[in-house]
């Protein structure tokens, strides 16, 4: 695996910690989160690798990944983590960091109106994926 040691962005780490309120540094890479994740087919890096890259300070690699958007917070990883790391909160923090920079994952107008969708999925989806 290609691992680069970069200057650790302490400010960004603090920001992720503050929003997530769950400490990724406690992860010992057992892989329990990845073994149970139902969204794995839509991910380019595995849930445990999200924690690994964060521990290594490779924040951009995680922030630019597809994986943070594939998580729908079903809490399987969070419930089963032997270290009590809540990856659903960490993913939320990573998405929030992108969204607060005024980013939309998709264009709302391209998905609305194609079919009748439950109110719940529209509100949830716009909240999670758009600025």
């Amino acid at each position: 695996m290609d691992i680069k040691v970069l200057k650790y962005d302490e400010r960004l780490r603090e920001r992720i910690d503050k929003i997530a309120a769950s400490n990724f540094m406690k992860c010992y890479q057992c892989g329990m989160c990845s073994s149970g994740c139902p969204s794995i087919d839509e991910m380019d890096i595995l849930p445990n690798q999200i924690n690994m890259f964060l521990m290594l300070g490779q924040f951009d690699r995680v922030l630019e990944s597809k994986s943070i958007w594939a998580c729908v917070a079903c809490f399987e990883c969070a419930e089963r983590c032997p270290q009590g790391v809540d990856l659903s909160k960490i993913n939320e923090a990573l998405r929030q960091i992108k969204i607060r920079r005024n980013m939309d994952l998709f264009n709302i107008w391209e998905v609305v109106g194609k079919e009748e969708l439950p109110t719940i999925v529209l509100v949830a989806s716009f909240r999670k994926f758009t600025a």
Partner: protein, 294 residues
């Protein structure tokens, strides 16, 4: 008649009307009434997981204040997402001083929420009544119907807010299904996520999840899946249409709301179930007469 304060949430008033209608009917038969709060607010649909985001919890707290104003300390929900959101925000309000102070300051035109509302699920009401009472009230025994009960994620996780203390092998829904005389089918993917709100921009991915869940239930012997969640129902029901387009050999499986199954067993009336993509009339016809449109 027992009366409970009831919070419907957005989707039981739109695409999941049949869930609300059947839940209310079942309540009437069993002797309890769901009294809708005279005014309520969106729960926020999904609980915010960002610790510094407080504004998206305001709607839920307002609803809890509306419940508090009635003088009763219980609030019933049916939707899994509303249950999870209201329970989590309620707990955060009680446990997180900084959060509570900020919310109360922001909402200082409202009577302050005291944190005493117990958010209960429809299942809790059934358990409180007692499953024996349910069993005795059955008018049409659903003998021969093979039912897989699907929990999805938000009825079970996080464990602190679960409707069953065993989050990996829950049995509460199965115990309720068994009272109807139907045959309970246990299947491994009953606690796995359906793909949730990814259904908006990735319907194909959710169709894949649906395929795995439906086939898991079928392999275990189920002919139908029942669910409490309006979102799971939408995904498991509607997304089968995509599976059928991709895989013409796929046999669709009817997906019922949990309370529709109870209504079928407890009611003596003619029934009609609206809002299903996959035809449910075979199951209905087996045990009841289908109500003709007026």
């Amino acid at each position: 008649m027992l009366k409970y304060n009831y919070f419907p949430g957005c989707t039981l008033k739109t695409t999941a009307k049949q869930l609300e209608i059947s839940a209310i009917n079942v309540g009437k038969i069993l002797g309890f009434e769901l009294t809708e709060l005279p005014r309520w607010h969106c729960c926020g649909t999904v609980v915010t997981l960002a610790s510094d985001d407080k504004i998206r919890s305001i709607g839920a707290v307002r609803t809890l204040i509306r419940a508090q104003e009635t003088g009763d300390d219980k609030l019933i929900t049916i939707c899994s997402v509303c249950l999870n959101t209201l329970r989590r925000i309620n707990a955060r309000f009680r446990d997180d001083d900084e959060f509570r102070d900020a919310v109360l300051k922001f909402m200082d035109d409202e009577p302050p929420y005291e944190g005493n509302i117990k958010v209960l699920h429809y299942v809790d009401v059934l358990l409180e009544l007692g499953l024996d009472k349910l069993r005795k009230a059955v008018k049409r025994k659903l003998e021969g119907l093979k039912v897989g009960a699907y929990y999805g994620c938000l009825l079970l996780r996080p464990a602190e807010f679960s409707i069953d203390p065993n989050t990996e092998r829950p049995t509460v829904l199965e115990r309720i299904v068994a009272t109807t005389g139907a045959e309970v089918v246990d299947f491994p993917l009953k606690i796995e996520c359906c793909g949730s709100f990814e259904t908006v921009h990735k319907p194909d991915f959710v169709a894949q999840r649906t395929y795995e869940i439906v086939e898991s239930a079928r392999r275990a012997g189920a002919e139908t899946i029942v669910t409490f969640c309006p979102l799971c129902h939408f995904n498991l029901d509607r997304r089968q249409k995509i599976i059928m387009q991709v895989n013409p050999g796929f046999k669709p499986m009817p997906i019922l709301y949990f309370t529709e199954l109870l209504e079928l067993a407890l009611s003596e009336e003619e029934l009609s179930w609206e809002g299903h993509e996959i035809d449910v009339s075979d199951i209905l016809r087996r045990y009841a007469t289908i109500k003709k449109e007026a």
